[in-house]
């Protein structure tokens, strides 16, 4: 037994609690299910039920012993632990009682009467013990973390604060650091289970530190125990998170370093701290300051595959812009022998809401077809270079309220179109090489659309 002296033998066996504990649960539930079956189907399962109860109770004893060993190390919320401990022990005792009752209930009347009551009791006890056990392992927020708001309200959990993800107004602790702690650390360092006596749930607990004293020193990440622990070699026994849980990503680690070095603020906004381009990049990785584009805000149902096939049958190439998106990109090959016509365009309109990129480069588009393009309400990019567009045609594009990218180089358009371009308020890039638009025309467009980048070639 020498080998056990050098380790914490209680902890060694105690950790098997999480494994063994599922056996009594399974057997006791099996007994209850069999009891229901026997009652409903009038089959004789007496022997099976009493064995299931006995095995469940015996494993219950082992689970209780292992559980007490695990708890001896401390670090758990005492109220939750007590509830879990006593309901667990009661479950085992009631399971033993049920085993004896199941033997006696054929002959003794009071045993027969009390038996179903005890059955109900064991299920209730089992559920309570199981639930608090789960809270001890995963933290009390775990179960309802992703529940819809209405269910959260019913469960009495305060509605989650809506996370701010814009760079200007997000708070450094609430919206960045707290999120990281919740995701990677607070499985063990929460109100139910303060491992190493350390809680990482709010400013008070973080500043208080753990059993070995303070874990963070404002302005000095490299001297902070917390930062040291998360940057150790993952095989080091002091490395955090321990027990093979998902380590922090490089970006998360560097954000914590930045937060400590910048003075450990709990109430400042991100923009009040020193932010470099790198930190901005890291912040984007945790969801702060990502620019929400127009197409990112669209949430459209998928277009039926039959509709897409009918569009393809007209010679268009059409597919979703990414494997998860419902938005579509369309192009029409300049090699196609059949020119674009109204019938083809009408078929295209059957998916008009979802089409956001259109490429008709080098495909002649007659004036009467352009109004159809104008109906693609969510169009953000249009390539119609060398497409024989006229000023009249361009005028019909002004309905495209979300157009950000327009390439019309190589078309016989003139300064008459300047007015049309000025109406495309979202336009960011405009290609006008080999058109008849004058310098003055370009200046006019730039005046009314300050964000625009016009490329005219050399």
């Amino acid at each position: 037994m020498v080998i056990f002296l050098e380790t914490n033998i209680y902890q060694f066996f105690g950790r098997f609690h999480a494994l063994i504990v599922h056996l009594p649960i399974g057997f006791i539930i099996l007994a209850v299910i069999f009891e229901c079956l026997a009652w409903k189907k009038k089959v004789d399962l007496k022997l099976a039920i009493s064995y299931a109860l006995l095995i469940g109770a015996l494993f219950g004893v082992i689970a209780v012993v292992l559980g007490l060993m695990l708890a001896s190390d401390g670090g758990y919320n005492i109220d939750t632990l007590n509830l879990h401990k006593w309901t667990g022990i009661s479950t085992t005792i009631v399971a033993f009682l049920l085993f004896f009752l199941s033997k006696k209930k054929e002959t003794i009347l009071w045993a027969k009467k009390i038996y179903p009551v005890m059955m109900a009791l064991v299920i209730i006890l089992l559920s309570i013990a199981g639930h608090y056990g789960g809270n001890l392992t995963h933290g009390s927020n775990y179960l309802f973390e992703h529940a819809p708001a209405s269910i959260r309200a019913m469960a009495g959990i305060k509605p989650a604060r809506e996370r701010i993800t814009t760079l200007d107004s997000a708070l450094v602790y609430e919206d960045v650091i707290h999120i990281i702690f919740e995701k990677k650390c607070n499985v063990c360092h929460n109100n139910d289970k303060a491992k190493g006596d350390l809680l990482l749930v709010d400013s008070e607990s973080i500043l208080k530190g753990g059993e070995n004293g303070k874990v963070v020193i404002a302005g000095n990440a490299s001297k902070s125990e917390l930062y040291r622990r998360i940057t150790l070699d993952p095989n080091h026994k002091e490395f955090m998170p321990t027990e093979g849980r998902t380590p922090l990503t490089n970006e998360e680690t560097l954000l914590i370093k930045w937060w400590i070095d910048e003075g450990l603020s709990f109430d400042k906004k991100i923009v009040e701290l020193n932010i470099t381009d790198r930190i901005k990049g890291y912040l984007q990785d945790v969801g702060i300051g990502l620019k929400r584009t127009f197409i990112g805000s669209l949430n459209l149902p998928q277009v039926d595959e039959n509709i897409l096939d009918s569009i393809r049958a007209e010679g268009f190439k059409i597919k979703t812009i990414t494997n998860k998106s419902t938005l579509l990109e369309v192009n029409y090959s300049a090699y196609n022998k059949n020119p674009l016509n109204q019938d083809k365009m009408n078929v295209l309109l059957s998916a008009k809401e979802n089409i956001t990129w259109v490429d008709f480069s080098r495909v002649p588009i007659q004036e009467n077809l352009i109004s159809t393009i104008g109906q693609l309400e969510n169009l953000t990019e249009l390539r119609a270079n060398n497409s024989k567009l006229t000023d009249k045609g361009v005028k019909q594009l002004t309905q495209l309220k979300h157009l950000e990218y327009l390439n019309v180089y190589g078309n016989p358009i003139s300064d008459i179109s300047v007015e049309s371009f000025q109406k495309l308020s979202k336009l960011k890039k405009l290609y006008l090489w080999k058109t008849n638009i004058s310098e003055q025309g370009i200046l006019k467009i730039k005046d009314s659309l300050p964000q625009i980048n016009i490329i005219t070639g050399e």
Partner: protein
């Protein structure tokens, strides 16, 4: 009489077919079992690994196409991009031992001398990027490009280094980057191959055609090499007396036979062959059309410095633009001749390198400008670079002083540039030490470059895999990180 041989012979006479069947049952059973439990074919090919065509791109792509300008032979970063005034001061001094210990070079022996930069540098553009006098045209577009000065690789010989760059592995047999990309994203134009290769400089790259091979991917994804003169692709035109109708009918018949073969043997390569015949038929029209430089107006040809019928990098740059304009997914250019060891005038830094720069400077600049004015630079990624860099020391092959100035192969640090396709313009990324020997900040490995290229095409390099011989392969194998600081 040799008794032993006699005994062997007698013994073999008794060994019959029955012995074979008896003794091999376990082995045959094992083979049968492996094909029952695994999706693999017994002899390495896979039956069921075709990807769902809707599975890519993983996220919104910034680039739809790639033009990779591979300067085979490896240009010297110290003469072109990486300005090192300190190296000038050390010129002709002995190289310190600390830089040589434990290192292996392709040719340098003993203690070489340091070699100062052979061209002067100036700052250009709003970004103030340093460019040497050898690239006068290129200096006008520095605000469009990102110069990466901290590239490093694992291989110091041309062929393995080119393979590492193009296929992610220094050993041959893996699919090339272009094959991966066209396999994943397909072609935008069904009349042209998705992956085309143009070679100039008088010689194929050292890695040979493996550098644009399809490896274990279906062979229709290998790069199609076009010639500079005559038929762009050999036998692309019909022979005398063969009309397009007859060609069509004969291909139809061949494909029908192939289809019945496929039904019988279920080999994917038969399907590849059918689609390649169909592609070849379409290419008879599309390729001569797209490869005809004479269709370009004079001012565009002048812009590139292209001359009709010439096997030049300039022509290839112009062709590359014509190809991406038609929706070719991946255009790979190789330009041989950058291997400036100093062993001859043509291989010297002051003479040969200058000639090489003159060959590429105007045309690569024109390519960026031309793509920009057509709106193609937004979604076409251009990458320019060699397979490794060159030493800050002067080469002393055989321990003697070489007739001309030259530098040996160098893996620790070199420079590439990228433009378009969602890459930031006007930045220099990464730093090398004061003599350009090691990268000291933001080092970029070959696999990181590959991960970044895939990322711009909307592909997560860690999720884009192909199952072959029982394991999932990736272009970046188990390496690679996307260089986010380079991205818009």
């Amino acid at each position: 009489m040799d008794l032993y041989n006699e005994a062997q012979k007698r013994k073999l006479e008794f060994t019959t077919r029955r012995h074979f069947l008896k003794q091999c049952t376990t082995g045959l059973g094992g083979i049968a079992l492996s094909s029952l439990i695994g999706p693999q074919n017994v002899f390495g090919g896979n039956i069921n690994n075709s990807m769902d065509p809707g599975a890519l791109p993983h996220f919104l792509p910034k680039a739809k196409r790639v033009i990779y300008l591979h300067m085979a032979g490896a240009p010297s970063q110290l003469e072109l991009f990486d300005c090192k005034p300190a190296l000038k001061k050390l010129h002709d001094l002995d190289c310190p031992q600390s830089l040589l210990e434990g290192k292996r070079f392709a040719f340098i022996q003993g203690t070489p001398k340091m070699l100062g930069p052979q061209f002067d540098f100036k700052q250009y553009g709003q970004s103030g990027t340093y460019i040497s006098d050898a690239l006068p045209h290129f200096s006008s577009i520095v605000d469009e490009v990102a110069v990466v000065k901290s590239m490093h690789t694992d291989e110091f010989n041309h062929a393995p280094a080119q393979l590492l760059l193009q296929t992610g592995s220094a050993r041959s047999g893996r699919p090339s980057m272009g094959a991966w990309v066209t396999y994943g994203l397909g072609s935008e134009n069904e009349n042209l191959p998705g992956y085309m290769v143009l070679v100039s400089g008088g010689k194929n790259p050292s890695a040979g055609k493996n550098a644009w091979g399809s490896g274990f991917l279906p062979s229709e994804y290998q790069g199609v090499q076009c010639r500079n003169s005559g038929d762009p692709i050999l036998y692309v035109s019909n022979p005398n007396g063969m009309s397009r109708d007859i060609r069509k009918k004969s291909l139809k018949a061949i494909n029908e036979i192939n289809e019945s073969q496929h039904k019988e043997f279920n080999d994917d390569e038969t399907l590849s062959r059918i689609s390649q015949y169909e592609m070849a038929f379409k290419m008879q029209i599309s390729v001569p059309d797209v490869m005809d430089v004479s269709k370009e107006p004079d001012y565009i040809r002048d812009m590139y410095g292209a001359k009709q019928g010439e096997a030049s990098f300039a022509n290839n740059c112009l062709l590359a633009r014509r190809l991406v304009e038609q929706g070719v997914r991946f255009v790979q250019l190789y330009h041989w001749g950058w291997d400036m060891h100093g062993d001859s005038k043509a291989n010297s830094l002051n003479e040969g390198l200058k000639t090489k720069c003159e060959e590429v400077d105007q045309s690569m600049t024109a390519l960026v400008k031309d793509l920009k004015q057509r709106g193609l630079l937004d979604d076409t990624l251009i990458v320019w670079g060699g397979e490794f860099g060159r030493t800050p020391m002067r080469e002393n092959r055989g321990g003697i002083i070489m007739p001309y100035y030259g530098r040996d192969h160098h893996t620790e640090a070199y420079t590439i540039w990228m433009a378009g396709g969602g890459i930031k313009g006007g930045i220099s990324y990464g730093e090398t030490d004061e003599i350009g020997y090691y990268g000291i900040k933001d080092k970029v490995h070959i696999h990181d470059l590959q991960a970044t290229i895939l990322n711009q095409l909307g592909i997560n390099h860690e999720k884009f895999t192909y199952n072959f011989q029982g394991r999932d392969f990736r272009l970046t194998d188990v390496h690679g990180r996307v260089i986010k600081d380079l991205l818009l």
